[in-house]
Amino acid sequence: MSFLTLTDVAKSFGDLQAVADVNLSVEKGEFVSLLGPSGCGKTTTLQMIAGFVETTRGRITLDGRDITHTKPNQRGLGIVFQSYALFPHMSVAQNVGFGLEMRGIDKAERNERVREALALVRLDTLAHRFPRELSGGQRQRVAIARAIVIAPPVLLLDEPMSNLDAKLREDMQFELRSIQRKIGTTTIMVTHDQSEALSISDRVVVMEAGRITQIDTPYRAYERPENHFVSQFIGKANMLPGTIVARDGDAIRIDLGHDVAETGHTAQLPQKERVVKIGDAVTLCIRPEKLRLCAPGAGRLPATVTSRFFLGSQWLYRVDSKLGEVMVCCQNEGTEPLAEGAAVGVDWNSDAIRFVQREARHG
């Protein structure tokens, strides 16, 4: 049995089904991200784990104990809120010590543990400041210290980085990850930022419209998206519609139209969808960095550069081909980039391709 489990958990607000049939098992010490666009039910799921929202159905267990109907102030979880929710009338040290005080820990030990927690987030010199005298990043670290000082079984993070600017966010991601590694607390983070989820979690849980669509390691979620939504939501992807025209055992042949065909393997399909037959509509999904630009006439597809974007370490080209507009990402190797309007060839390796079932709305 896993450390934290959600079994068939659902939540409705009136007629609105906010979360439906969520099944999730989190192992001890794991860092799991709930990832999805706003309104996908990820925050509601977190709030049900925290106890601020009652479940409509389903069961939540923590370390073998059923906590589905336990009051939030008896769960003892550490929570970092999106707004940080620091107590404005208390100093940093008082904020961090509050949870220990509520647990009846005596003053000497309390001070010692507050000092340790503040040292962990590198705020030991600001213990006597008040929240309004701190910067955004410092406030966030106070919130983290306040949540981890109580040594909670599970740490819940509700969009912890959304109020920070881009540079600080990146620093805090590394810092959060290293703190979590150091103390080994099981952590669940809600985020809508896919790069944040990919960079710091052990596993990502992709949610869409109240349901979980994929639970996987960041690498697998990126490399082997289970459906159209995941491949679009995590990273960039070129989506080319096609039809299966031949199947021989596990080998399949897909017609992309305009006399372009691609061979593949059923292993390149999502696990649930490997039973395909001739005539099935599929979408070919290939990441921009897995496409290569080569000399005109070479490669599989002739194309013209329509625009280019400089991303620092990379160049992102949009090229026009007979299959439509395609994104190609090239490493910046210090050579002159291709000009807009230049004729190129586009090439790729067949095993870099994934297929997903074509969805009706894209049909």
């Binding site: 925290a50 601020f52 009051k71 939030p72 102030n73 008896q74 769960r75 003892g76 979880l77 550490g78 929570i79 809120f81 999106q82 707004s83 929710a85 620091l86 107590f87 404005p88 009338h89 208390m90 100093s91 509050f98 949870g99 509520m102 647990r103 008040f130 309004r132 005298e133 910067s135 955004g136 410092q138 306040r146 949540a147 109580i150």
Partner: protein, 329 residues
């Protein structure tokens, strides 16, 4: 009048000094101290002509204030030094006889003690009733919230005379309250013309002055702080006491200042519900001016009331404001 004190801090800010001032921005790690930018310095050097439009804009309010408050106040001050002769009325003089009379007489001591006792009790009751009321109000959904806000504001919409007579009808020996007591075989009690009647009626009309500032403070409260306290294993009661209440303190503070000041100088309610014998400072002033025609003594009482009110309120303000200035501000 004295009730505008808590607002005085904002209103007293010099115009044009605002740009560089709000130092509590989020990003400045090195505190907001030290020379900020040249905008503050250039403002300081600006010629007086630059402020002329601002002075002109303030002028109507200033003239009104001067004509209706400052000049009468100065005249009252001068009057308080006059000598009173029962045969010929006030005689111009400069002497402290009136002050000595008020400060020595136990009759006036009682009146002042009663005045501030009533004001204190009213303030206390308003805090005790108004704070939970505001909290409940902020938790209500909209059709109900607007309705109850109207109920709270209702006393302000009714003339003070009508309101006082309403209370008098409820509280008189044959009134509804005593009829209710009679049903269970109690009473009748003397409720009208008591300190109790004055306090009840004052609380009734002063409650909005407490509820509104506390409600404003509640709007600024991050509701997640309550959840944060719960998640740290605080009980709901502890959360209210340790997390919510301290954040409401600025609202309670300014509410109490308003209620105290208005109650201590209230005239109509104590006059109508306290009867002729139960005098407070404001009704005593009225009697000196209009019954005894001893204007100098009336002026003295009025000024002493103002002074005492100022001292009480400023002390209170200093004590609490200083405690919370740094954290909540």
């Amino acid at each position: 009048m004295a009730s505008t004190l808590p607002l005085g801090k904002e209103a007293g800010k010099k115009p044009g000094k605002e740009q560089g001032e709000d130092g509590h921005t989020h990003e400045s790690d090195n505190g907001g101290s030290g020379p900020r930018d040249d905008s503050t310095r250039s403002t300081r050097r600006a010629p007086w002509q630059a402020f002329l439009p601002l002075w002109l804009m303030c002028a109507p309010a200033f003239l009104l204030f001067a004509a209706l408050v400052l000049i009468p106040l100065a005249m009252t001050l001068v009057l308080s030094f006059y000598r009173f002769d029962p045969a010929s009325g006030p005689i111009a003089a400069f002497q402290f006889g009136n002050y000595a009379e008020v400060l020595k007489s136990s009759y006036f001591h009682t009146i002042f003690l009663r005045t501030f006792g009533i004001a204190f009790l009213t303030t206390l009751l308003c805090v005790v009733i108004g704070t939970p009321e505001a909290y409940v109000l902020s938790r209500m959904r909209d059709p109900w919230r607007s309705l109850f806000l109207l109920v709270i504001l209702a006393p302000l919409l009714v003339s003070v005379v009508v309101r006082a007579f309403g209370w008098s009808m409820l509280l008189n020996p044959n009134g509804l309250v005593n009829q209710a007591f009679a049903l269970v075989g109690l009473g009748p009690y003397k409720l009208e013309y008591t300190t109790f009647a004055i306090v009840i009626a004052l609380v009734h009309v002063m409650l909005p002055f407490m509820v509104i500032p506390v409600w404003t403070a509640l709007q600024k409260l991050d509701p997640q702080t309550e959840n944060a306290a719960l998640s740290l294993m605080a009980s709901p009661a502890t959360t209210l006491r340790r997390i919510v209440l301290p954040q409401l303190t600025p609202g309670i503070l300014s509410g109490s200042l308003m209620v105290f000041g208005l109650s201590a100088s209230a005239f109509a309610i104590p006059g109508l519900l306290g009867g002729r014998r139960l005098k407070v400072a404001a009704t005593a002033v009225y009697d000196e001016f209009l019954s005894s025609l001893n204007w100098p003594l009336g002026a003295t009482i009025a000024l002493l009331l103002l002074l005492a009110n100022l001292i009480v309120m400023l002390t209170y303000y200093r004590l609490l404001e200083r405690k919370y200035a740094r954290s909540i501000g």
